[in-house]
C-alpha cells in the first residue's frame, strides 16, 4: 500500500504501517516460551529407539538391559500398542502409518520402541540399551523400481486389489487436446526435471509434553503444531477421549515451514506414555531424528513437455510426474488434491492446452510429502513451467524476458480461467517483470554477459515469473480429513476500549500478534497497542485449520476483517443511540462515527465500546464482540518476477549468486517491514535447495544427509544481499485486497537460479541442471562439455 493510501495514523498503526512487532520484546530477551522451555511438575522424559535399517523384520526386542538402568520406568513397543489398537495411525492424507512397528520397519530411523525415564539423559541411555534383533530385507529407494512389476510390495496391509507400490493416480486438464497440440506443434520441448527430497529443518525441532490428568479426565498436549485444532480432532477420533477434554496448546514455535503440520509417532507415544504412567511426558526430537524421520518435502520426478510455434507462442503444456512418498502418504494436502495444487503448472502464461498427471509411489523412505514453505506442490509446478519456458526461449533464440512478455496472461484477461480449471483473481505480470528488469539493468547485464563469454567466463542471468496459489480454501473444494478449510477470528472489545482477538491460525514466526492487530486497527481504529492477539490454545481460540500454505492472511486475515466489520455494524447502532441520530446519518472516519455535516457530533470507538457495557439501548444485547468463520470465495494468486545473476567458477564448479532482484505482488500490504522479512526468508529457502540442500539415500536406504554436517543450510556467507521491490495488484475478492506472501519467494527463487545457471552454460550444450546445483555436479557437466579451468 502506498503511503498516500494509508487510512490510519502511525499511532493507530493500521494497514501499510511498518509497525514494530509486538512479539519481539520477549524473544530478544530470551523470554520466549518454546516447547522445550516448558517443564511440568513430575514430568518424565521419552526417547525413541530407531531402526538402523531401511527395511527389516523385527525378530525381537530385548528391553531388559534398558529396564535395569536406574530411572528407566518403561519401554513401549509395537506389541504393547497393538493391544490397544494404537500401533497404526491415520495420516492427514487418508493413508496410515505405524506409530511403532510390530513386525517390520520400513525406513531408516523409523521409531521402533519408546523409553520413558526420569530425565532426558537417562531416557537416552535407555534407548541406547534396548536391543533389537533385525533381519534386513531388500530395500527399494527408487520410485521407478518400486513400480516395476516384479518389485516387492511395501505395503501388503492394503486391500487385495492394491498389492503393488502405486498409491494413487491424479490428473487434471485435457489430455486429448494437449496431446493433439503437442503432436502438431512446430516446437516440441521435452525435459526431465527432478526436484529432490529436502527437509524444512526449522531451527527448533518438534516436540511435545503430553499431560494426562486421570482425575479430571483431561488430556493436555503441549506441542509444536502449525494446526492445533486439527490435531485435537484427530486425537479425539483416534483415542476416543471426548474432544472437550482434550486441550492442544502450542507455545512459541521456532519455525514451521510445513514440517510441524503432520502428526508424528513421537507425539502419539508421549500421549500413550502419559496415559499409561499418569504423569506428564516430554518428548523433544534431536536434530538427526528431525532430519531422518520427520516429513520431507518435494521428491518429484517430472517429465515436462511444451508445445509452441517457432516464433515462440506457447500452446500446450504437459507434465507426467512420479511422486515418491516414502512408505506412507503422510502429505498434508487437501483431500481432493493428493498432488496438492500442482495443476497450477501453467503459471503466468496463457496456455490454451494443459494436462498434468501424478502418480504417488511407496519406497523405503520416511513418510511424508509436506510442503517446504510452499503451498501444496506449487514449487514443483513453478519450477517445471519456468524451466521449460526458459528452454523454449533458448531453443528458438529469443530473449527469455521477451518470450515471457509475449506469453503472459495480460492484465485485461483477469479473472482468468486456466486450462486446468483455476480462476486467477488478478494479476499484472508484465509490470512486475519490467520493474525487475529496470532495477537490475537487464540490458546492461546481457551486454556484460556477452563480453564475459567472449573471454570464456561463465555468467548467467535467470528469470522466474511465477504465479502462486494460496489461501486454501473455498469449502466446496477444500478440506483436510473432512474438515473444511475455512478459518476464524473472534474479537472481544472490553469496556475500556481494549481488545482481545483470537484466531484459528498459528504463528511460527510470521508476526500474527502484530499483523492481525493491524487488521483490527485498520477496520476499527483501535491502536495496535490496545489489541492483543491470541492463538494456539484449542480451549479458547475459535476452530481453524492452522497456518501453512500462506493461508493466514487470505483466510484468517479475512475472517478478522469480517469480524471487525460485524463489530463496526453494532458500533454504528450504538453510536446512533448515543448521538440520537439515525444510523444512515452517520459516517465513519478515523476511528469514530460522526453525524454527517456535523463532525463535532461524534463518538469514538472507545466511547462506543464503553457504552456497549454501560449505556446500551434497551432491547440490544450488551457487549461488543463478534466471531467470523470465513469461507473464501476463491484462492488468491500472488505473483512476482525474479531476476538472478550467477557466476560460475570453471575450475571448481561453484555457483555464486551475485545479484538477485525480487519484485513481488501480494496485493495490499498489512505491514511492509514484515512482508520484506517474509520475502528475505523465502528467498533464502529458495536458494537453499537450489545450491545446497538435498536428502539423498544410498541403495541400502541409508540417509546420507541426516545431520547438519551434511544437510547444508546456507549461512550468512552464502546468502546474497537480497534486493526487493513490490507492485500492488489488490485481490478483488479478499476483504482487505491482500493475498498472502510467506511462500512466494521460496516458490519463485529456485527456477530463477536454475535458469541463470543454465543460461551460463547453454552455449556449451547444456539444457537443464537439476537442483541442487552443487559444485561437483556443475564440474562434472563442465568436464563432459570439455571445459577446463
Amino acid at each position: 500500500m502506498t503511503t498516500e493510501a494509508l487510512q490510519t495514523t502511525p499511532e493507530v498503526g493500521g494497514m501499510g504501517h511498518s509497525v514494530k512487532r509486538k512479539e519481539d520484546p520477549r524473544f530478544i530477551r530470551g523470554q520466549g516460551e518454546y516447547i522445550d522451555d516448558v517443564n511440568l511438575p513430575g514430568q518424565l522424559w521419552l526417547d525413541i529407539v530407531r531402526s538402523p535399517y531401511a527395511h527389516a523384520t523385527i525378530k525381537g526386542i530385548d528391553a531388559s538391559e534398558a529396564l535395569k538402568i536406574p530411572g528407566v520406568l518403561a519401554v513401549i513397543t509395537g506389541a504393547d500398542l497393538e493391544k490397544a489398537g494404537l500401533h497404526w495411525m491415520p495420516t492427514l492424507a487418508g493413508d496410515k502409518q505405524m506409530v511403532l512397528p510390530t513386525t517390520t520397519v520400513m525406513y531408516q530411523a523409523q521409531e521402533v520402541a519408546a523409553v520413558v525415564a526420569t530425565t532426558r539423559y537417562i531416557a537416552a541411555d535407555g534407548a541406547a540399551a534396548v536391543l533389537v534383533d533385525y533381519e534386513p530385507l531388500p530395500v527399494i529407494v527408487d520410485p521407478f523400481k518400486a513400480l516395476e512389476p516384479d518389485a516387492f510390495v511395501l505395503r501388503p496391509d492394503r486391500g487385495p486389489d492394491k498389492q503393488n507400490n502405486h498409491i494413487w493416480h491424479w490428473e487434471s486438464g485435457d489430455r486429448a487436446a494437449t496431446d493433439a497440440d503437442l503432436a502438431s506443434a512446430e516446437v516440441h520441448i521435452e525435459q526431465d526435471i527432478y526436484i529432490p527430497r529436502i527437509h524444512v529443518a526449522s531451527i527448533e525441532t518438534c516436540g511435545c509434553i503430553a499431560d494426562w490428568d486421570a482425575v479430571r479426565g483431561q488430556l493436555t498436549l503441549h506441542m509444536t503444531s502449525q494446526a492445533p485444532h486439527a490435531i485435537r480432532t484427530v486425537l479425539a477420533l483416534v483415542s476416543g477421549l471426548p474432544e472437550q477434554n482434550i486441550r492442544v496448546k502450542t507455545h512459541d514455535i521456532g519455525g514451521g515451514f510445513g514440517g510441524k503440520v503432520p502428526v508424528y509417532p513421537g507425539y502419539v507415544l508421549a500421549v500413550v506414555a502419559s496415559l499409561t504412567v499418569g504423569k506428564p511426558v516430554k518428548w523433544i526430537e534431536d536434530r538427526s531424528e528431525n532430519l531422518q524421520a520427520d516429513s520431507f518435502a518435494r521428491d518429484y520426478h517430472m517429465h515436462v513437455e511444451l508445445g509452441a510455434t517457432k516464433e515462440g507462442k506457447i500452446t500446450s503444456l504437459k507434465a507426467k510426474t512420479i511422486a515418491d512418498h516414502g512408505y506412507s502418504d503422510a502429505a498434508a494436502d487437501p483431500s481432493k488434491f493428493p498432488a496438492g495444487l500442482f495443476n497450477v503448472i501453467t503459471g503466468s502464461y496463457d496456455f490454451p492446452n494443459a494436462f498434468v498427471e501424478v502418480d504417488g509411489v511407496y519406497t523405503n523412505k520416511p513418510p511424508g510429502g509436506v510442503a517446504y514453505r510452499c503451498s501444496f506442490r506449487v514449487t514443483e509446478a513453478v519450477h517445471a513451467v519456468e524451466r521449460v519456458v526458459d528452454i523454449l526461449a533458448h531453443e528458438i533464440g529469443k530473449d527469455p524476458a521477451q518470450l515471457r512478455m509475449e506469453n503472459f496472461i495480460q492484465p485485461e484477461q483477469f479473472p482468468y480461467k486456466t486450462p486446468t480449471g483455476w480462476s486467477y483473481d488478478s494479476g499484472n505480470y508484465p509490470a512486475a517483470l519490467q520493474k525487475a528488469m529496470d532495477m537490475i539493468d537487464y540490458a546492461g547485464l546481457r551486454k556484460e554477459q556477452a563480453e564475459k563469454r567472449a573471454r570464456g567466463e561463465l555468467m548467467g542471468i535467470g528469470i522466474s515469473s511465477f504465479t502462486e496459489i494460496v489461501g486454501a480454501g473455498p469449502s466446496k473444494d477444500f478440506d483436510i480429513i473432512g474438515i473444511k478449510m475455512f478459518d476464524s477470528c473472534e474479537i472481544r472489545v472490553h469496556p475500556t476500549g481494549k481488545v482481545i482477538a483470537r484466531i484459528g491460525v498459528q504463528s511460527q514466526g510470521q508476526g500474527h500478534e502484530t499483523t492481525f492487530a493491524q487488521i483490527i486497527a485498520e477496520e476499527l481504529g483501535f491502536p495496535v497497542g490496545d489489541i492483543k492477539i491470541e492463538y494456539g490454545d484449542t480451549d479458547t481460540a475459535p476452530y481453524g485449520l492452522g497456518t501453512y500454505a500462506s493461508r493466514s492472511t487470505p483466510v484468517a486475515g479475512a475472517a478478522t476483517a469480517m469480524a471487525s466489520r460485524k463489530i463496526k455494524d453494532k458500533a454504528r447502532k450504538l453510536a446512533a443511540h448515543l448521538l440520537e441520530a439515525s444510523e444512515d446519518d452517520l459516517e465513519w472516519t478515523n476511528g469514530k462515527f460522526s453525524v454527517k455535516g456535523s463532525p463535532e457530533q461524534s463518538k469514538t470507538i472507545q466511547e462506543i465500546a464503553f457504552a456497549a457495557y454501560t449505556n446500551h439501548p434497551q432491547g440490544m444485547e450488551a457487549g461488543l464482540e463478534a466471531v467470523d468463520y470465513y469461507d473464501p470465495p476463491n484462492l488468491t494468486f500472488p505473483f512476482g518476477s525474479y531476476i538472478c545473476v550467477v557466476d560460475i567458477d570453471k575450475a571448481t564448479g561453484r555457483v555464486t549468486v551475485r545479484r538477485f532482484v525480487a519484485v513481488d505482488d501480494c496485493g495490499n500490504i498489512i505491514n511492509p517491514m514484515i512482508v520484506d522479512g517474509q520475502i528475505h526468508g523465502g528467498l533464502t529457502m529458495g536458494l537453499a535447495p537450489s545450491l545446497y540442500e538435498e536428502i539423498t539415500y544410498d541403495e541400502l536406504g541409508n540417509n546420507l544427509a541426516g545431520t547438519f554436517m551434511d544437510y547444508l543450510l546456507p549461512t550468512a556467507l552464502e546468502t546474497p544481499a537480497w534486493e526487493t521491490a513490490k507492485t500492488i495488484t489488490p485481490s478483488p475478492h479478499h476483504p482487505l485486497g491482500a493475498k498472502g506472501v510467506g511462500e512466494s519467494a521460496t516458490v519463485g527463487a529456485p527456477p530463477a537460479i536454475a535458469n541463470a545457471v543454465v543460461d551460463a552454460l547453454w552455449h556449451l550444450g547444456v539444457r537443464n541442471v537439476d537442483i541442487p546445483m552443487t559444485p561437483q555436479k556443475i564440474w562434472a557437466i563442465l568436464r563432459e562439455k570439455g571445459v577446463t579451468a
Binding site: T652, T696, L704, M709, P775, Q776, W779, A780, R783
Partner: protein, 278 residues
Amino acid sequence: MHDALRVLAEHEGEAKVLSGGYSLLPLIKLRLAQPPLLVDIRDVDGLDSIVEGDDELRIGGRATHRQILEDATIKAGYPLLTDAAAGIGDPQVRNWGTIGGSCAHADPSADWPAVLLATRASLVCRSSTGERVVAAADFFIDTFQTAIEPTELLTEVRIPRWPNGSGGAYAKLERRAGDFSTVGCAVMVRFGADGRIADAGVGLTAVAETPFASATAVAALIGAEPSEATFRAAGAAAAAESRPVKDAHGPVDYKRAMTEEMTVRALRSAVGRALGQR
C-alpha cells in the same frame, strides 16, 4: 600439567584429553565415543603460548585457532597458518578449538595436519616419564590415528622457520562455510638464487585416509621455474598421489581434480608471497 599427565598414566587407554571440545564432544553426543574419563586441559598453564625462536615457531598445544589467526608474528611470518586458521569451522569453533586437539584427533579432513606436513613441522608429546618430538610425517598414521600414546599429551607444535625467499599458503575447498574441507592443500616454497624453486612442501587433507605430504608434487616443484605449467604439474602429481573416496563431498574424479586445483591455487599464492618477500 603434572596432574593431567599422572591421570593419563594411571588410566592408560581409558582417559581421553579434552581440549577445545569441538572434535570430541560431538562424537560423544552422537554416542560414537564413550570415554570413561575425560581430562580437561583447558586450565593447564603454559600450553597456549605462541613463541618464535631463532629457527622455529612454537605453538602450545592448547592454543586456539583464534589465537593463531590473530597472532601478529604468525600473520607476518607464517601467513600459511593464518590462511588455515581463518577457514577452520566457524567463529565459535575457532574461539575454543585448539591446534593440539585437532592434531591429536586426526580427522582425515582436518586442516592443521596438512599445514604441519607442508612446513615439515614436528609435534611434542609429553608423558609423565618424559618428552619426545615426532616429525609430522611420522605423526599422522591413519584415520583418527596418530603416533601419540594414550599416556601422552600433545604439548607443542614446532614449525620450522623457512629462510628468506620462502612463502606458504593454504587453499581450502568447502561446500559451505563451516564445513569440513572437500580438499585442503598447504604448500611451502623456497626460491634459490637462480629464481627456481629450491625447496617445497605440499600437504593435503581430506583426500586420503589421513592427511599426507605429497612427495611427487614436491619433486615436480623443485628445480622448476614458478609458472602455471609448474603449478599444474605439481597439482597433477598431488592429485595422482591422492587416494580420495566418494562421499557427500563428491566422487573420486572430482576430488582428484579439486586436489589439483587447490594445489595450484595454494602455489600461486605461496609463490606470490615468496617473491614479495624478496
